[in-house]
Amino acid sequence: MKIRLHVNGALHEVDVEPRRLLSDALRHDLRLTGTHVGCEHGVCGACTVLVDGEPMRSCLMLAVSATDYEITTVEGLAQDGELSNVQAAFKECHGLQCGFCTPGFLTTITAGLRDNPSPTREEARDMIAGNLCRCTGYQNIVAAVLKAAES
C-alpha cells in the first residue's frame, strides 16, 4: 500500500506491504541505511529513531503505522553539515568503535539530553541503559553524554 513517511524534514511516498518494518522501509525503501538492525526484537536499540522526538525501536514498528509522525534518523542529526553536539562528543571521547550500534545511541542521547540537558553521571548511564554496544564497554559513551551536555 502507498504511504507517506515524514523523515528528517522531507516527505516520502513509498509503496510497502503492511508487514514491512519501519526499519526496513527506512533502510531499503528510502535508502537511509544509517539506521541499523542488530536484533529485530527490540532489545539492542541499534535501530532507534526519533518518532515525534521520542526514541522508538524502528524494528518494532510497522512502516504503515509511522505515517502520521515526524521521524528523525541518524542522518537527520547533523545540522547544515555540522556534526551535532552529541555526534561531536562521540568523536571527541572515542565513543564508537565499529559504529554499528552508534546511530541508536546518538538518537537516544539526542532525545535524552533534550529532556535532561545536564545529567549527572548516573543519569547519563541511565540514559543509555537500553542500548547494547559490544565494542566500547560503554565507558566512553557515558563520557560522550557528559561531554555533549557540557557543550
Binding site: 541505511t33 544509517g34 541518524v74 542529526l77 547533523a78 559504529g99 554499528f100 547494547l132 559490544r134
Partner: protein, 795 residues
C-alpha cells in the same frame, strides 16, 4: 608539522562518516539485490530422509531454491578444514547445504533467493523436510561418555587428542612436598557482534568477474575459498570488506556456507544476491566458544613454587572442526601465563557435540587457560596460607630471563618463546592501582557495615602478532596524497587512524593526506586476516617497512633532481628538503611525477616537475632495478609471535541475602609494547573488560538435553548493558618494547577479556570463602553454592 604521531591520542578518521550514518556495512550495499534466506535444521541430530521444494517456486518473487542436490563440483564437497593438524585425526566439516544428515540446530539445509527477505522467508516456510531423528550428544560429559556418537565414524566423539610434555610432570608432582587437584568448568559464550554475518555478490556478465563483499575478518582467505569452490580462477574474484559491525573472532571463519551460496546464486541468476543474517541465525548458525572441562594436578614447594603441573582438558568443539585445534592448543600453551611451571604436561581431547561449531572468540582459548592456571595459583595460596600475590611472584619468569623458552610448540607451529615482559613490575603496578595492600582494612570496614567484599587478581601472557605475514602497499599520488592499502580487515579497531599515524611519521607527510584502505583484495591480494591481536604488530610493521621503502625512493629521486646528497635530505610535511636549507625543496607530489617517465602535464605537480631532470640519459627511462611510480609494497614476516601480557584485579561485593554480585573496582595493568594510539588501546581494553564481565557473570549458551538453544535472543542471552559494566576501569600501561618488530609493539585487541573468568572467580571466592570451580557464575549459582554442604575436594 614535525610532531611525532606514534604514541599520540589521535582522534579517529573513521568517525565522521560513521557518526553521520554514512557507514557502509554489507546490508547497506547493492540496493535492489535479490535476497537469500536459509532453511536451518530445527533438530540437533537427524538424518534427512526427503526434502520437498515443490511449492517453493510457485510463490511470486522467488527466483531460485537450492538443496544439496543442486550443488556441483567442489561445492558438493565438505567445506574446507582450514587449519589441519596431525593430532586432528578425525576432523569433520559440514557441507554448504546439509547432505543426508544434520548435526546441530541451525545447520543449513536449503536456501531460497527471492525479491526480498520477506518473500524469501515465506518461501523457506514452504520447504518440507522429513527427518529421522537421532539421539543428540550435548555437553562435554555426554561427549566423553560416548554412549551416543555425533559422527558415526568418529569413535568416542574424539576429534583430536594432543599431548605436550616438558620434563616429567607426574614424577615431579609425586615427589613434591605439597599436592593439589582441581576440577574446573567453564561454559560457552560467543563473539556476538552487533552486526551479524552478511555477504553480497555480483557476477559481472561482461567481464566474467565475481565481486564479493562480506562482513569478514579475512578477505583474502574468503577470496581463495570462493574461487576454489566455484571453480573460478583467483584472478576472477575480488573480495572487498566494507564497514564491519564487530567481529571478535567469529568472522575469521570462512567460507561460511552463505559466503559460497550467495556468489553461486549470483552467478547462476546473473543478478546481485545478498544474505543478511538475523540475530537468531547468528546464535544458532555462526560459532560459539569457551566450553571446557579441566582437571589440574599440581605439585609445589613451601613457597608455592610450581614443581610439576599436569593438566587435562576436555574441549567441546561443537559439531564440526573447520578451524582445527587452534582454541585448545592455545589453552594448553597459554595456560602457562607469566609462570615457570616446573615440569609440565598437558593433554587435551577435542570432542564433538551436536551443537554450534566452536571457533575463536576474542581470547581464543586463553581465558580458559588463564582460568585453570589462576584458580590453581589461588588454591596453592589458600593451601599454604600465603598472600596470593606472593605465590605468583614466586613463580614469575624474571625480566632477565627473557627471551624465555617454554620448550613447547605454540599455535603457529613455532617454539613458545616469550620475547619480553617485566611481570614483577606489572604486579607492583597492579597492587598499587587496586589497593591490594589496603584491602584487608577495607574488608573490615565493610564487614562492620554488614557488607561482604572480595578481591581477586589474574595474570596472563598473550601470544599476539602471529605470522605468517602481512603486507602493505603505499602509493604517493602526484597530488601528494598518500594511499595506503593493507590486506587484513577492520572491524572497528581504528586501523585507518593508527596506520596513518605510522605512515605520517615514517614518510614525513601530513596525517590528513593519508588514506588507508583495509581488506580489499584488489589493492592487496596477499594477506592473512584479523585475529590473534595481530593487526597492529603485523600490518603496522608492514606499513612501517613499506613507508621506509617509499621514503628511500623519494629521497633518491629528489637527491638527483635537487643535485643534493641523499644524506642531506629530509622529508617534512610532504616536502623533500635540504636539511638546514628548507627553501630548497620538492613536494612529494612532484617527486611522484619525476618517478614516472611518462609525464602528461595534468596537474601543477607535473608542471613543477618540468624544471628537474632525473635518470641517466645513457640508460632506459626505467632503469633495470627500478619501477615507475612513487610507490612500494613490502611484507613483514616475524620469526615467531610476540607476547603481550597483563594483570587484572577486581573488587566485588556480594549481597549476603540475594547473592547479587556488584563490581566496586576494576584495575588493569597492561603491557602491549609501545602504544601507537593510547586512546584506541584503552578503548580496546574497555570493550574487552565489558565482554569479560559478560562472560564471567551473565553470558552462557543454554542448551537443553535435546540440543535446543533455549536463549537464542538478546532477551535471554544476557550481554552487558552499561548497567552491568564497571563505572570506571583504572588502567596503567607498562611498555616493554618487543624486540621482534620494527615498531616494538605487541598487540592489544584481546587483552581485556582474557583474565575475566579467572579474576571474577578469585574475587567472589575471596568474598564468600567458597571455592569457585565453575564459571560463569550468576547470583542464582552463587546462592546455590552457599547452600551446598562444604566439601574439601581439592586436597
Amino acid at each position: 608539522m614535525t610532531t611525532k604521531l606514534f604514541g599520540e591520542k589521535i582522534k579517529r578518521v573513521e568517525d565522521d562518516r560513521l557518526l553521520r550514518g554514512l557507514g557502509q556495512y554489507v546490508d547497506d550495499l547493492m540496493p535492489g539485490a535479490l535476497e537469500m534466506a536459509v532453511l536451518r535444521s530445527p533438530h540437533a541430530h537427524a538424518r534427512i530422509v526427503d526434502i520437498d521444494v515443490a511449492d517453493v517456486l510457485d510463490l511470486e518473487g522467488v527466483y531460485a531454491v537450492y538443496t544439496y542436490d543442486d550443488l556441483e563440483g567442489t561445492m558438493a564437497q565438505p567445506l574446507p578444514l582450514l587449519i589441519p593438524h596431525p593430532a586432528l585425526t578425525h576432523g569433520r566439516t559440514q557441507y554448504a547445504l546439509a547432505k543426508d544428515e544434520v548435526n546441530y540446530v541451525g545447520e543449513a539445509i536449503a536456501c531460497v533467493v527471492a525479491v526480498d527477505r520477506y518473500v524469501a522467508e515465506d518461501a523457506v516456510a514452504r520447504i518440507r523436510v522429513d527427518y529421522e531423528f537421532l539421539a543428540p550428544v550435548v555437553g562435554v560429559d555426554a561427549a566423553r561418555a560416548a554412549e551416543r556418537l555425533v559422527h558415526e565414524d568418529v569413535p568416542g566423539n574424539i576429534a583430536a587428542r594432543l599431548e605436550q610434555e616438558v620434563g616429567d610432570a607426574e614424577a615431579a608432582i609425586a615427589k613434591a612436598p605439597h599436592k593439589l587437584s582441581l576440577d574446573l568448568r567453564i561454559e560457552r559464550s560467543a563473539s556476538m557482534p552487533m552486526e551479524g554475518r552478511g555477504t553480497v555478490a555480483r557476477w559481472d556478465t561482461d567481464s566474467h568477474r565475481l565481486q564479493v563483499w562480506s562482513s569478514t575478518q579475512t578477505s583474502t582467505g574468503l577470496r581463495a575459498a570462493v574461487a576454489a569452490k566455484l571453480g573460478l580462477d583467483l584472478g576472477q574474484v575480488d573480495v572487498m570488506t566494507p564497514d564491519v559491525g564487530g567481529g571478535f573472532g567469529v568472522k575469521i571463519v570462512h567460507p561460511w556456507p552463505e559466503e559460497l551460496l550467495v556468489p553461486m546464486a549470483a552467478m547462476a541468476l546473473g543478478r546481485p544476491v545478498k544474505f543478511t543474517e538475523d540475530r537468531r541465525e547468528h546464535f544458532v548458525s555462526s560459532a560459539h566458544e569457551r566450553e571446557q572441562v579441566q582437571h589440574v594436578d599440581v605439585g609445589f614447594d613451601d613457597e608455592g613454587r610450581l614443581l610439576g603441573l599436569s593438566v587435562q582438558l576436555w574441549h567441546d568443539n561443537g559439531a564440526y572442526t573447520p578451524y582445527g585445534l587452534i582454541v585448545p592448543i592455545i589453552t594448553s600453551t597459554q595456560l602457562l601465563g607469566p609462570y615457570k611451571p616446573g615440569a609440565y604436561k598437558v593433554v587435551f581431547e577435542s570432542l564433538y557435540t551436536n551443537t554450534v561449531i566452536v571457533t575463536p572468540y576474542r581470547g581464543a582459548g586463553r581465558p580458559q587457560g588463564v582460568y585453570a592456571m589462576e584458580r590453581t595459583m589461588d588454591a596453592i595460596a589458600a593451601y599454604l596460607g600465603k598472600d596470593r600475590t606472593e605465590v605468583r611472584s614466586a613463580n614469575f619468569i624474571q625480566p632477565e630471563e627473557m627471551p624465555y623458552d617454554h620448550g613447547m610448540t605454540f599455535q603457529d607451529g613455532r617454539p613458545l618463546v616469550y620475547d619480553s615482559g617485566d611481570y614483577p613490575a606489572s604486579l607492583e603496578k597492579l597492587k598499587k592501582l587496586v589497593g591490594w595492600d589496603e584491602f584487608e582494612a577495607f574488608r573490615e570496614e565493610m564487614a562492620a557495615l554488614g557488607r561482604r567484599v572480595g578481591i581477586g587478581l589474574a595474570c596472563y601472557v598473550e601470544g599476539t602478532g602471529v605470522g605468517p605475514y602481512e603486507g602493505a602497499h603505499i602509493h604517493v599520488e602526484t597530488s601528494g596524497k598518500v594511499k595506503v592499502a593493507i590486506g587484513l580487515t577492520s572491524q572497528g579497531q581504528g586501523h585507518k587512524t593508527v596506520f596513518a599515524q605510522i605512515v605520517a611519521d615514517e614518510l614525513g607527510v601530513p596525517f590528513e593526506d593519508i588514506e588507508v584502505v583495509a581488506g580489499d583484495t584488489r589493492r592487496m591480494p596477499y594477506a592473512v586476516g584479523t585475529f590473534a591481536s595481530r593487526a597492529a604488530v603485523m600490518s603496522g610493521s608492514a606499513v612501517a617497512l613499506t613507508a621506509r621503502m617509499v621514503r628511500a625512493k623519494a629521497i633518491r629521486i629528489a637527491a638527483e633532481a635537487l643535485e643534493a646528497n641523499e644524506a642531506d635530505l629530509e622529508i617534512v610535511d610532504g616536502l623533500v628538503r635540504v636539511k638546514g636549507t628548507p627553501a630548497v625543496n620538492l613536494s612529494l607530489g612532484t617527486v611522484a611525477v619525476l618517478s614516472n617517465p611518462l609525464r602528461y602535464a595534468f596537474d601543477e605537480a607535473s608542471k613543477a616537475a618540468t624544471q628537474f631532470t632525473v635518470g641517466d640519459p645513457g640508460k632506459p627511462p626505467v632503469a633495470e632495478d627500478d619501477e615507475p611510480g612513487l610507490e612500494g609494497r613490502d611484507f613483514y614476516s616475524p620469526e615467531r609471535s610476540t607476547f603481550a601480557n597483563g594483570m587484572h584485579a577486581v573488587i566485588v561485593e556480594t549481597d549476603p541475602e540475594t547473592a547479587e554480585i556488584t563490581i566496586l573496582k576494576y584495575a588493569v595493568v597492561h603491557d602491549c609494547g609501545l602504544l601507537i594510539n593510547p586512546m584506541i588501546v584503552e578503548g580496546q581494553i574497555h570493550g574487552g573488560v565489558a565482554q569479560g564481565v559478560g562472560g564471567a557473570l551473565y553470558e552462557r549458551m543454554a542448551y537443553d538435553e535435546n540440543g535446543q538453544l533455549l536463549n537464542a535472543s538478546f532477551m535471554d542471552f544476557l550481554m552487558p548493558y552499561v548497567t552491568e559494566v564497571p563505572e570506571s576501569i583504572d588502567i596503567d600501561h607498562l611498555e616493554t618494547p618487543s624486540p621482534l618488530n620494527p615498531l616494538g609493539i605487541k598487540g592489544a585487541g584481546e587483552a581485556g577479556v582474557i583474565p575475566s573468568a579467572a579474576v571474577f572467580a578469585a574475587a567472589i571466592e575471596d568474598a564468600e570463602g567458597i571455592p569457585i570451580r565453575q564459571m560463569p557464575i550468576s547470583p542464582s549459582d552463587l546462592f546455590e553454592l552457599r547452600n551446598q554442604p562444604v566439601v574439601e575436594p581439592d586436597a
